[in-house]
């Protein structure tokens, strides 16, 4: 069961290890990222931040999709983390269980504008967001679970 799908460009860090994991009671954190999955150093660093009581999986996007669609894994309470809107859309396309995406943190970059304290998007990303909204996905912005959720459709 997927408890939360979160976009966070720092992937696994304090807010995730320390507030989301206990709040959701997850026992499996799945980091889906092509670059990190092939980078031993990054994998090592993420391993350090793994909160106790949960296991950490790091897979490329395709690997994550087949893991999430595998009926063997439905008994696990999973927190999925990706670091971009593009990856989020790729996951949503292929994994029908994902009905909602949490926007945790996307830093400001060239050509982006900030739409909340922690989220900045480019025009190309806004198009992706609209496509996801059109598919009926719920997109919400929250850094930590105790915050109130802001709906992305009201922010763009």
């Amino acid at each position: 069961m997927i408890k939360l799908t979160r976009i966070d460009d720092r992937l696994l860090h304090g807010q995730v290890a320390f507030t989301w994991t206990p709040a959701l009671g997850v026992d499996c954190i799945l980091v889906a990222n092509d670059k990190v999955a092939g980078d031993e150093f990054q994998k090592m660093a993420l391993g350090l931040a793994k909160p106790p009581g949960a296991k950490l999986l790091i897979k490329p996007i395709t690997g994550a999709i087949s893991f999430l669609n595998d009926p063997k894994n439905t008994h696990q309470k999973i927190l999925v983390i990706i670091n971009s809107i593009k990856d989020a859309r790729a996951l949503c396309e292929e994994v029908s269980e994902i009905r909602s995406v949490n926007f945790g943190g996307i830093r400001n970059k060239e050509g982006a504008r900030s739409i909340s304290k922690s989220v900045s998007v480019t025009d190309a990303e806004v198009r992706l967001i609209r496509e996801m909204l059109d598919k009926g996905l719920e997109l919400e912005v929250r850094q930590v679970p105790t915050e109130s959720r802001q709906m992305l459709k009201n922010l763009i």
């Binding site: 860090h13 304090g14 709040a23 660093a45 391993g47 909160p51 106790p52 304290k117 850094q143």
Partner: protein, 527 residues
């Protein structure tokens, strides 16, 4: 007027914490006594500070999620309550809304500060590190100055009005607030529990509770016991831990890699450490701690970058987005310093890899150090500190700072050198030896035992209910005390924790507890 200026200075001091290494000088436990002293009632200040600390205990700063501004709220709440001769309940009633309002203002400031990023980039382009330094500090000063100004205006314009308003509050409201105020810490405890509680460590919460409720052990003793239990439980069996050998390998490898021309001295690294204390001074919502990182790296860059162009490139590199836990920041600074040395010695070195390592580490290490410091050291320090402060003992504030900052500053200092000397090898060893698993496990045992002790020692909710007639009745509280002392505080904490777990919003819980306090006091169920 003089006292108002003094209190303003206290608020400015609290907001200067970002220049002072996030050392928790700004917590109500510390500022409360200062405000009390300024107003000639040290005792009240200590007690109010302790109580406010309890209520805001679960309010922590992780990542960029900004909690209510307890500095402004706490200082003004305490000051108004003492000035008008009202009790602790009024201090609470004022501190909560003020801190929520002040937080909105601060968020605005953090957005506004992004404007300066352009100027930072211009200065970096010029290779002018002096201007970068100056702007980091000037922009950093905006926060203490702005909040100081607001504190002063609120006192100057509001204190007379506030007194009239507070005098008009009827008695029953006061009584209700009193009971509600006693209940509010349960929310703080529940929020803390939420960070650490899982099936594996749950028994330690109840162990902490029983030690406090039945044996009446003080929090500091329970902290000590918790530490011993954590050490015993996580102790490795002989032969299980090959860490030391690895460490030697690591440093040797790194030495071979380095064709060293310039080496940084211990003095350079000490300067990096000292400057790391200003990491959060210019926090902003666009690039977060970037200017703080550049500011801390400047002593290293001054030594390595001999040309304007190399300085410019390096400054731009370190003005990129950055955010990590301040408590572990020096480890990344040390590693970055080592990479900068390599970069200056080896023309083939890929400077891009410096930022790749920085951004690869900032998230995970924030997870490690935030959990350790907010989840464990802060909890123990606040548990010990508040249990003394609510009795009016000034040593509560002092012990609080000592318990938190001794491990903080020692580790922060040492990690600068560890990062520089062993580079990322240190982390690879950590990962291989599974030390982190043990550390987080041990830390959650210790933290939960102390949290378990809190409802029993720090929540005073009693019931005045009597069974039977007034003359020959049996007091319910008397019976409870004989079976499970502290049952009501424990029950309330667990109830709030349940609601936190099902993700009810903190604001609703706050209002719910207030309502429960008022109704309970009005119906004479709780006192």
């Amino acid at each position: 007027m003089i006292t108002f200026l003094l209190i303003t200075l206290i608020a400015v001091f609290g907001h200067s914490e970002d220049f002072l290494g996030t050392t928790l000088l700004s917590r109500p436990l510390v500022l409360g006594p200062l405000v009390g002293w300024a107003l000639g009632d040290l005792q009240q200040g200590i007690i109010m500070g302790g109580t406010l600390e309890l209520i805001f205990m679960g309010n922590i700063k992780v990542g960029a999620a900004i909690p209510p501004d307890v500095i402004t709220g706490g200082v003004l709440g305490t000051a108004f309550a003492i000035l008008s001769g009202k009790g602790i309940a009024i201090a609470l009633a004022l501190a909560i809304p003020i801190s929520i309002l002040a937080e909105m203002l601060l968020s605005g400031l953090f957005v506004f500060r992004s404007v300066f990023n352009k100027y930072f980039m211009v200065y970096a382009e010029e290779g002018n590190y002096r201007k970068v330094q100056r702007l980091h500090i000037l922009s950093g000063l905006l926060k203490p100055l702005l909040m100081g100004l607001i504190t002063f205006l609120a006192l100057q314009l509001g204190s007379q009005m506030m007194k009239t308003f507070l005098d008009a509050i009827p008695h029953w409201v006061n009584a209700g607030l009193q009971v509600a105020g006693n209940m509010l810490p349960a929310l703080g405890f529940a929020l803390l529990m939420n960070l650490m509680f899982n099936k594996r460590v749950a028994p330690y919460f109840f162990l902490g509770f029983m030690l406090a409720a039945y044996l009446k052990l003080p929090v500091i003793a329970i902290g000590g016991l918790g530490l011993i239990i954590a050490l015993l439980v996580t102790r490795s069996r002989p032969g299980e831990n090959p860490q030391e050998n690895n460490e030697e390998d690591g440093s040797e490898n790194l030495k071979q890699m380095l064709p060293v021309k310039i080496n940084l001295t211990n003095g350079d690294l000490r300067r990096v450490f000292t400057r790391s204390l200003l990491l959060e001074a210019n926090f902003n919502f666009e690039t977060w701690q970037n200017t703080g990182f550049a500011y801390a790296m400047i002593p290293v860059l001054k030594k390595l970058c001999t040309t304007k162009e190399s300085m410019s490139r390096a400054l731009k590199r370190h003005l990129q987005f950055f955010n990590t836990s301040p408590y572990g920041s020096t480890l990344i600074l040390g590693i970055t310093a080592a990479m900068e040395v390599q970069n200056s010695a080896d023309p083939e070195f890929d400077a891009e890899s410096i930022n790749a390592v920085k951004s690869g580490l900032m998230g995970p290490l924030a997870g490690v150090f935030d959990s350790l410091f907010w989840g464990t050291f802060k909890v123990i320090a606040a548990g010990v500190g508040t249990s003394l402060a609510v009795k009016g003992n000034i040593s509560g504030a002092i012990l609080f700072l000592i318990i938190f900052n001794t491990p903080h500053l020692l580790l922060r200092y040492k990690l600068t050198f560890t990062g520089y000397k062993t580079g990322t090898k240190f982390l690879q060893n950590l990962a291989r030896s599974h030390v982190m698993d043990k550390l987080t496990y041990g830390a959650s045992i210790l933290g939960l035992m102390v949290i378990g002790a809190m409802p029993a020692t720090l929540l005073s909710i009693k019931t005045p209910l009597i069974f039977g007639t007034k003359d020959s009745g049996v007091a319910l509280q008397g019976i409870l005390d004989q079976i499970v002392p502290g049952l009501i505080p424990l029950g309330l904490t667990l109830l709030v924790f349940y609601f936190v777990r099902i993700n009810m919003k903190t604001t609703y819980l706050l209002l719910g507890l207030l309502a429960l306090g008022f109704i309970g006091s009005g119906a004479h169920v709780f006192a």
